[in-house]
Amino acid sequence: MRTTTGAHYGLSDWIVQRITAVAMAIYTLVMVVALLCGVATSYERWHAFFSSGPVQFATFLFAMCLCYHAWIGIRDIWMDYVKPVWVRLTLHSLTVLALLGYAGWCLEILWRL
């Protein structure tokens, strides 16, 4: 069978992977600073911190970035190493489903607090 290329995508994923990496790096830095400032010294303080709107917004954003970043990264692994198209498609689908599940679970945890 002939090998074909030319799917005409890839650039947006490449850009998004970098943007999400920067967003996650900034969030991580802010969290480290917040922890050093003592937001987790007691359960009450930690709960209050994560119940505030801006922190929930940022944490939700972080989780979404992580999911999208992981999708591109894991998909790259499947594309690099898995040759049979049907196996690859199955793995792609399972990855998307797992990441969607994790995103929903994360939302539930964030707003349960």
Partner: protein, 236 residues
């Protein structure tokens, strides 16, 4: 004149005789003036004429004698024997089918090179003499046009090992950017369209093996980054 003994361990495979590849241990007396690895291999050939390898210019211009030397791709003619740990282990370039001993089938490599249309596309009427460029525009091609297509970079790239039929590879992408960067070329958009593909360009994960092994000191990773940068500027 003093001589020295050098130990070699060479990958041998003759598909007509051998069921599978094997490693041959062989030692060689080298004169003081025989400094380059290619000198040694040519002398080895005189000792055992069944050893097969490619060579031509013997001065780092033709790219024929690319091989895996002590685990790292390079040109035998540019490598000093005395800089190498012994036994000097010589293998064919990795990832390409072996024809015999150190000779590999480069069909796939050149197919990828040709896929980026490695020639100037200009629809203007031919000028009486050459198509002129400003010195600044010409400077853009430095670090790109010097590639000798030895395949050291592409065969050191895991993405090329896994997908040689789909990923253009560092050598092809360096050549692609050489024409994208050329102000005389009129097919920039088509060239970028041709590369905007998850396999053709975006299999590069910037691990920079290509930069590490290039015997001409070129930087395919930088060229690939510039292609992505141009795509982004075009899209955003």
């Amino acid at each position: 004149m003093s001589t020295r003994t050098v130990q070699f361990r060479i990958y041998r495979y003759d598909p007509d005789k051998d069921a599978k590849p094997w490693m041959q241990d062989i030692s060689l007396e080298l004169e003081e003036t025989e400094r380059k690895l290619l000198d040694a291999i040519v002398k080895l050939k005189a000792k055992d004429d069944s050893i097969s390898f490619r060579r031509s210019c013997r001065e780092g211009v033709c790219g024929s004698d690319a091989m895996n030397i002590n685990g790292k791709n390079g040109l035998a003619c540019l490598t000093d024997v005395d800089d190498l740990k012994q036994p000097i282990v010589l293998r064919p370039l990795p990832g390409l089918p072996v024809i015999r001993d150190l000779i590999v089938d480069m069909t796939q490599f050149f197919a990828q090179y040709h896929s980026i249309k490695p020639y100037l596309v200009n629809h203007d009427p031919l000028p009486e003499r050459e198509r002129l460029q400003s010195p600044q525009d010409r400077d853009e091609l430095d670090g790109l046009y010097e590639c000798i297509l030895c395949a050291c970079c592409s065969t050191a790239c895991p993405s090329f090992w896994w997908n040689p039929d789909k990923f253009v590879g560092p050598a092809g992408l360096l050549a692609a950017y050489r024409f994208i960067a050329d102000t005389r070329d009129q097919a920039t958009s088509e060239r970028l369209d041709n590369l905007e593909d998850p396999y053709r360009l975006f299999r590069c994960h910037t691990i920079m093996n290509c930069v590490d092994v290039c015997p001409k000191g070129l930087n395919p990773t930088k060229a690939i980054g510039k292609i992505k940068d141009m795509m982004m500027r075009r899209a955003v």
